[in-house]
């Protein structure tokens, strides 16, 4: 028996769908608001969530990633009353299982439910038999576990994979682990850096060339597509690939055959393709910078690696892993970390992701020298400055949020807010001017008469 949650403000629909789910032998809960539905999804283990887009207290799509990233990672079926193709695209990209539009029949609602439950069952039974051999992928937060689940399910597949994610999220390490856990593990893992080569160079590197094919081609060269025969070809920065090469590559991917530059015979190669990019290829397609047919070929399986700021709990494990690794490389005793140090690491948003964390740990260990425990003071100055700035702006935001609501959490009128602001300002001014009227006028830029008036209105004196 599965557990289903319906989040929809249409009570009639909820009743019909609940009855249907119940008749299929599953347990069902209903919520009519986004807030309550989200709380329910956190407190209980649901297999499937039916989620409406237009709810009285917000947009269902806004909580979709958060629901998917809960520990049990339920499959989410999006329901909406408006035909919104962009919303549908966004829903699927954010991990929705399916997207159905109102009005729909019971059959239309039940079919994706049954399929999602079948998929979930198959996935959980598969999980028991596939154990991954991982190197360099640290952490067990739900977002990274979702990625590893896909890796496990596709370990025996030859399907093309597209890895996306911000810079530094570990796309190459992930690709290498996919290769090492595939049936091609004993064969080559061949890297092509599409961003590091010009059009002519990347063509010659990928497809190879015959002797004399162009100026400087003084010998025959085997292309990396052929080198990856029976192994894995990793196309890093695939978004940088020139359009002319994209066309040739598309054909090579479709047919696993290609012609070297200057060659008259086609060569076959049985490679598995994993591509990676930090660019939005859909946007590039819209702008005519990336071929849509190639994009479809590349992402038979799509895995989006989460940024570090979304991987709750992983920073600590990674920090320890990198400390061990750096200490081992430098043949020194493993350093311990203080609680303060850990708190600081957790509070930072790590825009450079895992790479930035790894790099910071290296620099910190270098800075700590012989000291066996790492403290925040050992962190590089630039990182400490960024953390201080982030913390300061967060605190300022909190103060601002607080200040627009009074003690009873009732939103203030503009006049009330201005009064509060003036009062705080005067308190600070009194403190800084140390009882000196001239200094107070200089600091505030107001006249003495205006200052007297304000002090009188707010029942303050300059004697602090």
């Amino acid at each position: 028996m599965a557990k289903i949650l319906i989040i929809d403000d249409d009570k009639e629909l909820c009743n019909v769908l609940s009855a249907q789910v119940d008749s299929l032998g599953h347990e069902v809960n209903v919520s009519y608001t986004l807030q309550e539905g989200y709380s329910l999804s956190l407190s209980e283990r649901y297999d499937i969530v039916f989620l409406d887009v237009c709810l009285p207290d917000g947009n269902g799509l806004d909580i979709l990633p958060a629901i998917r990233n809960t520990e049990y990672a339920p499959e989410v079926i999006i329901m909406t009353g408006t035909g919104d193709s962009d919303g549908a695209e966004m829903a699927i990209k954010n991990g929705a299982w399916d997207y159905i539009q109102k009005p729909y029949s019971l059959k239309q609602m039940t079919l994706p439910l049954i399929r999602a439950l079948d998929y979930r069952e198959a996935r959980s039974s598969g999980k028991e038999t596939i154990s991954l051999n991982l190197a360099g992928i640290i952490g067990d937060s739900q977002p990274i576990r979702n990625c590893l689940d896909i890796m496990a399910q596709t370990a025996s597949s030859d399907a093309n994979v597209l890895l996306t994610g911000e810079t530094g999220t570990g796309k190459e390490v992930f690709a290498l682990n996919m290769h090492r856990n595939s049936k091609r593990a004993q064969k080559e893992f061949v890297v092509v850096d599409c961003g590091a080569m010009t059009e002519t160079l990347v063509e010659s590197v990928l497809f190879g060339h015959e002797k004399g094919a162009f100026t400087g081609a003084d010998r025959r060269r085997i292309g990396l597509l052929k080198t990856a025969d029976t192994g894995t070809l990793f196309l890093d920065e695939v978004g940088e690939l020139p359009l002319t090469i994209q066309r040739s590559l598309l054909r090579a991917i479709q047919e696993r055959r290609f012609r070297p530059v200057g060659g008259d015979k086609e060569i076959e190669s049985n490679f598995r393709l994993i591509a990676a990019t930090n660019r939005n290829l859909d946007e590039m397609v819209k702008k005519g910078l990336f071929r849509e047919d190639l994009l479809h070929r590349l992402r038979s399986i799509s895995i989006h690696l989460p940024p570090l700021r979304e991987r709750n709990g992983d920073v600590q494990k990674m920090a320890k892993y990198f400390i061990d690794r750096v200490c081992k490389k430098n043949e020194m005793e493993t350093k311990q970390i203080s609680l303060d140090f850990l708190e600081v690491l957790k509070s930072y948003s790590w825009p450079g992701n895992v790479r930035e964390l790894q790099h910071t740990i290296e620099r910190t260990i270098f800075s700590a020298r012989e000291i066996p425990v790492l403290y925040p003071e050992h962190l590089p100055v630039d990182i400490r400055a960024k953390i201080a700035k982030t913390t300061f702006s967060r605190q300022s935001n909190e103060i601002q949020k607080e200040s627009v609501a009074n003690d009873n959490n009732v939103f203030m009128t503009l006049k009330e807010y201005e009064n509060q602001f003036h009062e705080r300002y005067l308190t600070e001014l009194i403190s800084r001017a140390k009882g000196n009227y001239t200094e107070a006028c200089r600091l505030s830029g107001i006249s003495k008469s205006k200052l007297y008036q304000l002090l009188r209105n707010y029942k303050k004196t300059l004697k602090s």
């Binding site: 850096d193 590091a196 080569m197 160079l201 890093d236 690794r325 430098n330 620099r363």
Partner: protein, 121 residues
């Protein structure tokens, strides 16, 4: 930003490479121990570009054993065109670009410039 070059001995190929890449901040390592020491220094750079000139299979094996601990380097590998055994192992290093010792090294200059533009600027 420094470009790190590993080259066991100076020869005409190395001189040709140096002339072509025309980059002022180069650190040259003449031994694997040197390379290791330099890599262990926290450089202040997120990714480091390393050019390896590898002459034979033994040198390749030693470098593979060392670099297994360094997963974030941008490697350009220059190998001996006559040593097939070296070529067979070169992908274990996951290089971003491979070329041969008898190359004119214009290709290395192109790759290096694009890497600097892409990863540093």
């Amino acid at each position: 930003m420094n470009i790190l070059i590993y080259s066991k001995q100076e020869d005409s190929d190395e001189r040709r490479l140096m002339k072509n890449i025309d980059f002022t901040r180069i650190h040259l390592c003449r031994s694997i121990a040197d390379l290791k020491n330099y890599l262990n220094i926290a450089s202040g750079e997120m990714r480091r570009i390393v050019i390896l000139i590898i002459n034979n299979h033994d040198e390749m094996v030693n470098i593979c054993n060392l670099l297994i601990l360094y997963n974030d380097l941008l490697l350009i590998v220059v190998i001996n065109q006559n040593c097939f055994k070296t070529y067979d192992n070169v992908h274990k290093l996951r290089p971003r670009y491979i070329t041969y010792k008898d190359s004119d090294f214009f290709d290395v200059a192109i790759v290096l410039n694009r890497m600097i533009n892409h990863y540093y600027l």
